[in-house]
């Protein structure tokens, strides 16, 4: 009893509780708003927009899931089980699309596939002057863009499953007289199932909460509708009802992802790692493999990057690189730095308490902090907006509201680096410092903080880079005239000023590359 009371009054514990409450408050507000809404609003939504929005969202998620499954698994299998020239290079290149925000890819494809675009011109020389390709502003366009942007999730998880898989399983199958191809179907793929499922859940979570691509391609999904309800009609009740549905969907896939990721551990070997035997094909096979990978990487990263560079070097684009452009850049950097610092400062006590005193209270607080995952950008904005208007209306339209939204939205990113960094430090190290005469605070200064410095830096950088390319919450909450790079890309692209959007977009993509390095360095080898 005494120890419990003492724990509750410790400042760290108080901080943890307050932080968790601050994060849950906006979410709770949205939910209560939705649940207490007039039933008439529900039925109106149900009879007008909802069926279309739900079908659209589910249709998009399902088709993207199918395509990423094929793309992700096949590429992962090729780079781990086949030997061909520059294999390691392709292995890395296949992750590059993750550096490309969906709105950048969407705006490039609305040019490439658009009327008078290069694909249409090409097609017209083949099929006659009246021929058209499918419009990017359609279900197909959105599917294509989202697939190219998200297949690396499936690729990464499948790849690590293939690398961690005990090669003996496949060898036993071969020894029992089963052919290569049949072994793939009977042994390899079934063993990869949990990892693939986790990857697909991640893809769906991403598609469901995406705003950038669907808004530029004008494809109506739930997330896009929340945004429209808030801007076009200022109907916050309807927006919160839609948000509730969205949060429910996101939660479902987040739980699915975690469940499968947990299960995938049982399928992976604990024994010694052995490099699998890689097939070698003849020159025809090798060139087919290479052509396939060239097409995938070119479509998802190569061509878009080339276009961005080309446009950025055009005279119109160069003319925009002036003091205003630097202003946008500094705005972006300022916001991202504030959010990253806030996130790390807030995340540290949460992660520390959960790893050092893992009682139900602290673990619940930590889980609460992961709520940002199920809050798509517009919903996070909506939640913070509600709270701000009700509690501190004078802050409305200030940078602070925006930063709070960022912190809530991206705190999971910071926690994901802080948590393992702390868990790697065995509590024995802190205890030994105590036996050597150091107090609690000194132990923190001289042992805990120095040891987790790298986790600290990674958390900050990741959160900085994620915040930097955030779009919907920024659109909704930014102070008037306070534009960021992402906003510029979106606004110019909405007006189809492709060249003008390019410098900002290129900068975002380039700054996104270190994120990839950081994310991958952790579990790239994974074996």
């Amino acid at each position: 009893m005494i120890t419990i009371r003492r724990q509750l009054t410790s400042p760290l514990q108080l901080m943890t509780l307050v932080t968790a409450a601050l994060i849950l408050l906006p979410l709770g507000y949205v939910i209560s708003q939705a649940l207490s809404a007039n039933p008439a609003v529900w039925s109106r939504l149900w009879s007008t927009r909802l069926p279309e929005l739900l079908t659209n969202t589910i249709r998009l998620a399902a088709s993207v899931a199918c395509l990423t499954l094929v793309l992700g698994v096949s590429t992962a299998w090729l780079v781990t089980r086949v030997e061909f020239p520059a294999r390691r290079l392709w292995e890395g290149a296949l992750v590059l699309p993750l550096a490309m925000p969906t709105y950048v890819l969407a705006y490039i494809y609305s040019y490439v596939l658009g009327i008078g675009g290069p694909i249409e011109q090409l097609w017209q020389t083949v099929a006659g002057p009246e021929a058209h390709v499918f419009s990017p502003h359609s279900f197909l366009g959105a599917t294509l863009v989202m697939t190219l942007d998200t297949f690396p999730f499936v690729y990464l998880l499948s790849r690590s499953a293939l690398l961690n898989m005990n090669v003996s399983f496949e060898e036993v199958s071969r020894a029992s007289g089963i052919s290569h191809v049949k072994t793939l179907w009977l042994v390899t793929l079934p063993l990869m199932r949990p990892s693939i499922a986790a990857g697909l859940s991640l893809v769906i979570l991403y598609v469901v909460s995406d705003f950038g691509a669907v808004s530029l391609l004008r494809y109506q999904t739930l997330t896009y509708a929340v945004f429209q309800q808030m801007t076009g009609r200022s109907d916050h009740t309807a927006a919160s009802i839609l948000s509730l549905l969205l949060v429910g969907m996101a939660l479902l896939f987040l739980i699915t992802e975690r469940w499968f990721r947990h299960r995938s551990r049982f399928y992976q070997t604990t024994g010694r790692y052995r490099t699998p035997e890689r097939h070698r094909y003849g020159w025809i096979g090798t060139s087919l493999v290479t052509i396939y990978l060239v097409v995938v990487v070119a479509a998802s990263f190569g061509v878009p990057t080339y276009l961005l560079i080309d446009w950025s070097l055009s005279p119109e684009a160069l003319a925009t690189i002036d003091t205003r452009f630097y202003g946008f850049f500094w705005n972006t950097a300022f916001l991202a730095a504030c959010a990253a610092t806030g996130g790390v400062v807030i995340g540290l006590p949460l992660a520390y308490m959960a790893s050092r005193r893992p009682n139900w209270l602290n673990l619940t607080c930590l889980q609460a902090a992961y709520a940002g995952y199920v809050l798509p950008g517009p919903v996070a904005a909506l939640a913070v907006l509600f709270l701000c208007l009700n509690l501190v209306p004078f802050l409305y339209g200030s940078v602070i509201v925006l930063i709070v939204a960022y912190v809530i939205h991206f705190l999971p990113v910071a926690l994901q680096s802080l948590e393992p960094a702390l868990q790697q430090i065995t509590p024995n190290l802190e205890e030994v410092a105590r036996t050597l005469g150091l107090g609690v605070r000194q132990t923190w200064q001289r042992v805990t903080l120095p040891l987790m410095r790298s986790g600290f830096v990674v958390a900050w950088v990741l959160m900085f880079l994620q915040t930097m390319k955030e779009l919907p919450a920024t659109l909704l909450l930014r102070p008037v005239g306070f534009d960021t790079l992402a906003i510029r890309v979106w606004m110019e692209a909405s007006e189809e000023y492709y060249q003008l959007a390019a410098p900002s977009a290129l900068l975002i993509v380039l700054l996104g590359l270190p994120t990839l390095l950081l994310l991958l360095s952790k579990d790239w080898r994974a074996a």
Partner: protein
């Protein structure tokens, strides 16, 4: 001469006046709570004298590490008291912080700070000293543990045995009141472990360090300890010298845990215990007809090949310096015997079984039953 006499005289006088607690460490009826994620301990009491090496011995989950952590001040006690150098450091509601206890601790995984060099690891507790003094103390410690020239290495550049020595040097550098060692040899390969055991024993004797060592290996505790506390399910079963623990264990659990033991059933009649292996003195002085078991160690049993005997060799396990035989008695009871390894009795050989024990250890049948069942 006179001065020294005066001093000693004064100190004996003081001793009479204040009745100092002669032990460096004392636990009085210590219990630790359930629900902390560690095995609970119940009513533990023992004391360690200056310079003594004590061993906490028991199977995993018996709470021996919990006791160590309670002494270090990481676990609160639910009842009872812990005294260090005569000062109360732990009781219900009172807990002197670890940093004020002056204990040294070596963890199972050594817990060397990975971000610090060997010299900085060792000097960790010496911040209050000047740079020069620190250097001198670090060099002293490195010489003590035989690691001169390693001061600029990082922990990951050391072998397991070297890491352990650094951990030891770090724990000893601030002259702790008591040194706590948690399974210190479990991460070393057997060869290295026995070498380190010897070295550590010499070092602790030389520095006269009061030490509490936790282990699950009875051979290790026999080799290291002045006295051993055997623990089982959070309770203290016996606290004695290694020899006493081995030869006259007080409970069947202790008998079984500190070495191979057979429990031969018997009954008291005519003032003696009658068993299949002959008569034994009734050391428990129980009534006529009481069912008891006699504990027998393999080194007390001697075999002789004998054609007309009903006892037969079941198995032979070659152990290098000896052969361990399992012998089936006519009743089906199995007895173990260790014999020199030069004579080999193949399985099936009829043998006569002689017991020549210096002490007889008896237990009541109902106390011994759990052990017997566990053995089957």
């Amino acid at each position: 001469m006179t001065l020294r006499h005066a001093i000693t005289g004064e100190s004996t006088l003081q001793a009479d006046l204040y009745q100092p607690i002669s032990s460096v460490l004392e636990l009085r009826g210590v219990s630790c709570a359930y629900g902390t994620g560690r095995p609970a301990i119940e009513n533990i009491a023992f004391a360690a004298k200056e310079g003594e090496i004590l061993c906490l011995l028991g199977p995993s989950g018996c709470g021996k590490t919990t006791i160590l952590r309670a002494i270090a001040g990481f676990e609160p006690v639910r009842s009872g008291q812990i005294f260090l150098s005569g000062q109360l450091v732990s009781s219900l509601g009172h807990m002197t912080p670890t940093e004020d206890r002056r204990v040294g601790m070596v963890f199972q995984e050594y817990a060397l700070f990975p971000h610090l060099r060997v010299q900085d690891n060792i000097a960790f507790a010496l911040r209050h000293l000047s740079r020069r003094e620190r250097k001198v103390r670090v060099e002293d410690m490195l010489r003590l543990v035989g690691l001169q020239g390693f001061e600029r290495r990082y922990p990951h550049e050391l072998s397991g045995g070297q890491q352990q020595r650094v951990a030891l040097a770090r724990a000893l550098v601030h002259h702790p009141v008591v040194l706590l060692l948690d399974e210190p040899f479990s991460n070393l390969d057997p060869d290295m472990a026995s070498r380190m055991r010897q070295e550590l024993h010499d070092l602790l004797r030389r520095t006269k360090t009061t030490t509490i060592l936790v282990t699950h290996d009875h051979a290790e505790s026999f080799a290291m300890a002045d006295r051993i506390a055997v623990l089982n399910q959070g309770r203290l079963e016996q606290f004695d010298t290694p020899e006493t623990i081995y030869h006259t264990p007080q409970t069947p659990f202790v008998a079984d845990f500190v070495g191979q033991a057979d429990f031969i059933p018997g009954t008291v009649s005519r003032g003696m215990v009658q068993t299949e292996l002959g008569e034994f003195p009734n050391t428990l002085e129980c009534e006529e007809g009481t069912a008891v078991v006699v504990m027998i160690r393999p080194d007390d049993v001697h075999l002789a090949s004998h054609k007309n005997s009903d006892a037969r060799v079941l198995r032979r396990e070659f152990r290098g310096s000896e052969n361990l035989y399992a012998v089936a008695l006519p009743s089906g009871q199995v007895v173990h015997a260790s014999e020199g390894s030069t004579v080999v009795l193949p399985p099936g050989t009829p043998v006569r079984v002689n017991v020549a024990a210096t002490h007889t250890v008896l237990f009541l049948m109902r106390d011994a039953r759990p052990v017997n069942r566990a053995l089957e």
